[in-house]
Amino acid sequence: MTELPFSFPPSIEPFVLPALYIVILVAVFPLIAGYIVLLERKVMADIQVRLGPMRVGPHGLLQPIADAVKLLIKEDIIPAKADRMVFWLAPVISVVTALVALSLVPFSKYFFVADTNVGLLFLLSITSVGILGIILGGWSSNSHYPLLGALRSTAQLVSYEVALGFALIGGLMVAGTLSMQQMVHAQLEQQMWFIFYQPVAFVIYFIAALAETNRTPFDMPEAESEIVAGYHTEYSGFRFALYFLAEYANMVVVSSIAVTLFLGGWLRPFPNVRLLDFLNYAPILAMFVLAFFVFLGASRERRPIDKMGLAGLGAVCALIGLLFLVPAVLDWVQGLFWFVLKVFLVLYTFIWIRFTVPRYRYDQLMRIGWRWLIPLAMANVIVTAIVMILF
């Protein structure tokens, strides 16, 4: 915990920082989710050799804001024969569970809401409650496609949760703890990211995570070309936005678990090698490089308003870079920088896979889950156990 410049009464002191972090997360996360959507659209455009959103703001940078405003002022339609209470409740369940799950993510050594001794287990249980939002949303719409989407989603999530759990057990056996912070410390002590001890577990976890978050090639619950939009076909406006938010929050959560357990969490690469200590200054460098590219972009813009906007963004980047020069700030930001960088690399892989791999058929999905992933994950646990006993 960082030292606060002023003190609170001892009875509420342990709750002050976590409460602050919760407020930050809940306030900032929708914006981040919006920009992940923009990233997704830009990467998709890049893969499909086009430009993607370019109109709203320079390079479409304000597109998420425009999307959000559009969703918020859209008409809120509830189907006449829908179960109104459940229809209202379902997206709330999805969003609340997804945001609660964020509270257990160790963003850095200092920036985390809670670190419990059953952290990972609790994360899994919270995300499994999130399935209820999808099922109830699909059922309460009282319509065929949503119901089909909900049924598919249930079967898929129940199947892949087993493989996911077994893959995580492989990593947990090496880590020897369920606490998310302790996992990172274990990787620091063993001087090795667990992906090198548990490559099979990581691959299984990654595939199962794709299925858990309904991402292509496992996006059966919302396959546009088959069942319109799956479980959220009947949702519009704000409620749809909630589902969207929950989906992206879940993506961030599963990526965070992958990063924490397998990719060294908030540690920088090779944290024990003194020779590479200059990597500690990477956040400063990143900000200045970012500022440089933004200024370069600003000089190429035609419209003066775009020029000014980008120049302002560049100035903000440079200022943040200057702020990072303060050692205390750099120390605080250090872990967060590496964690976010790794999470976004995983997210980028998610997006990359989405636009390069076609969707599986339902029976193929089940076959992969039950015949390949689960036995492989079990074998991985057994082999890991034997190796750990022998050596």
Partner: protein, 171 residues
């Protein structure tokens, strides 16, 4: 606020959640609504476990009961024709028998409330095995009580095989 008042408050809030959820579960006409209230009840029970410092049990309660069993419940309920079920009589007519049973339980409760805590003999917590720690739980399950654990898992396996056998038409 003193710790004891806060503890009591948590307990009573959770008790209200659990009992309210349970009552709603059995009085709803719609099976999906019943399932949702059952989820609320199970959440309350998980909260009680947390309240008793049994974090592992709380997490497993949510993971297994809400994330697993309730999801499968809903999966089945969605396949059932709910309109027909809603027309059927919700409660059976054996209320006189039920009343007698409830009265007996009520008298028992009243008796013990009058006697106070002294009438209960609480078992001493076993050596480490009952502590809510994940490692201790693992030691208890996989070392101290390995045989009962394996027998239970074998029973479950038999049950699974039986279910598959009944579901499959040709083998």
């Amino acid at each position: 606020m003193p710790e004891s008042i806060l503890n009591g408050l948590f307990f009573y809030v959770l008790a209200v959640v659990i009992l309210g959820g349970a009552i709603m579960t059995i009085t709803r006409r719609n099976a999906v609504h019943s399932a949702i209230w059952l989820v609320v009840t199970l959440m309350g029970v998980a909260g009680l476990y947390l309240h008793l410092n049994a974090e592992f049990l709380a997490a497993v309660q949510i993971l297994v009961y809400i994330g697993g069993i309730m999801v499968l419940f809903l999966f089945v309920i969605m396949l059932v024709n709910l309109d027909e079920a809603a027309k059927q009589r919700q409660f059976n007519r054996q209320w006189s028998l039920a009343l007698i049973c409830t009265l007996v339980v009520l008298v028992e409760f009243g008796f013990f409330l009058m006697r106070g805590a002294g009438s209960f003999a609480f078992a001493e917590p076993g050596q480490g095995a009952l502590k809510p720690n994940t490692e201790l739980m693992a030691v208890a399950l996989f070392q101290d009580y390995l045989l009962p654990f394996e027998i239970a898992s074998l029973l479950l396996l038999v049950a699974i095989l039986g279910a598959v056998l009944m579901a499959k038409k040709e083998i």
